[in-house]
């Protein structure tokens, strides 16, 4: 019923919902972000819970960058120059990004990089 070479297509699935089994890796936790709070405070609850996971993902991006540019200069550039960019980003996003960097302990430039990932990877 399936080909194992591209384009790999299988028969249309049925009975997958409610999710369970090997294609379901877990439920997603709910959080509240209060837009009445100052932007730098809004993400504190989420980041406090996800601090480790965020740091681990950023580290994976750094490892990848180091694999491409082994001198470490790419990450130096991110840490040195991207923080300057945050001032040019529109309010309240700039303040929210600052708040996330403070709450997570991840360098500001690396949080900026994560937030502009989409624009970088459209090519």
């Amino acid at each position: 019923t399936a080909q194992y070479v591209p384009p790999f297509t299988e028969d249309c699935q049925t009975g997958m919902y409610p999710p369970s089994g090997p294609t379901f890796k877990g439920a997603v936790t709910w959080y509240t972000v209060d837009l009445d709070l100052p932007p730098s405070e809004r993400w504190k609850g989420v980041i406090t819970d996800k601090q480790k996971e965020l740091a681990s993902m950023i580290q994976a991006i750094k490892d990848l960058a180091d694999a491409f540019v082994p001198s470490g200069r790419l990450i130096d550039l991110v840490d040195r120059d991207l923080p300057l960019m945050v001032d040019t980003l529109p309010y309240p996003f700039n303040e929210e990004i600052r708040g996330i960097a403070t709450a997570s302990g991840v360098p500001l430039g690396e949080v900026v990089l994560f937030n502009i990932f989409y624009e970088i990877f459209t090519v």
């Binding site: 294609t23 890796k25 959080y31 970088i120």
Partner: protein, 253 residues
């Protein structure tokens, strides 16, 4: 990514998506998975944004990412975005931004602003179609009335060839992967054909969260890049999301 908006025979709209991300960002040989995709999965969160103790909108997000890729403004509209690859990509927009030309908007900040401020399908559609962007993108928008569903294909400056729901003419769903809807997808990355095959097999009368989840669970619509699946029902204001895995055999994209 794969996003779709489907209308049932009673005019109820269901909007769903698979978010695929991390292509070519490190392949883990041992686990046969993409490194960044796997790192993103534990960061998936559902967020209810409130103002004056009332829900403004809900979204599925990555913790640490302030923009929006998937969201619902309950009883008004639903929105997802898919990546549109182009040589005239976001890096040109970023360069312009750095050089001081800042009349474009960052894609995910625009979607966040739309979810936060737009109060109707028409207003959201206009903002997503007309706002100058730093990078090309596909916006998939659903409303709360029959026929309100569309794919907005964006260049950095304008909207190209929008595709709308037209249930009277038999177009009861619109479906977008990462290719312009008027062109054939790359033959090595054709998720559109299997997804449409499964939608057509499902038929309009059976469309529901259950059947849409089935479509999004069919390989290669579900693939090694899929981080989460989100299902949204605008009239109920409901958003459900699930972290996904794609056991072998499974396409890497």
């Amino acid at each position: 990514c794969t996003s779709l908006v489907a209308e049932d025979p009673d005019g109820n709209l269901i909007h769903a998506r698979n978010l695929d991300f991390g292509l070519f960002m490190g392949w883990d040989l041992k686990n046969r998975s993409w490194v960044i995709t796997e790192k993103l999965k534990p960061l998936v969160v559902n967020i209810e944004f409130t103002r004056n103790n009332h829900t403004v909108f809900k979204s599925t997000n990555f913790a640490g990412y302030v923009g929006m890729l998937t969201g619902i403004r309950p009883h008004m509209f639903t929105l997802t975005m898919n990546e549109r690859f182009s040589l005239d990509g976001g890096y040109i927009g970023i360069l312009e931004w750095i050089l001081g030309k800042r009349d474009g908007m960052w894609m995910s900040f625009l979607t966040r602003s739309v979810l936060e401020n737009a109060t109707s399908y028409a207003e959201a559609k206009k903002l997503l179609s007309d706002t100058k962007l730093l990078a090309p993108a596909y916006f998939i928008l659903g409303g709360n009335q029959t026929g309100e569903g569309c794919i907005i294909t964006r260049s950095r400056t304008h909207s190209i060839n929008p595709l709308e729901l037209d249930p009277k003419k038999g177009r009861w769903y619109v479906l977008e992967t990462n290719y312009d809807h008027w062109k054939e997808p790359l033959f090595l990355d054709d998720r559109r054909t299997p997804a449409m095959k499964c939608m057509n097999q499902t038929t309009q009368t059976s469309i529901s969260f259950k059947t849409v989840y089935d479509v999004l669970s069919t390989k290669p619509v579900l693939n090694k890049l899929t981080t989460y699946t989100t299902l949204m029902d605008v009239s109920k204001g409901k958003l459900e999301s699930f972290i996904r895995d794609c056991p072998n055999p499974c396409m890497p994209w």
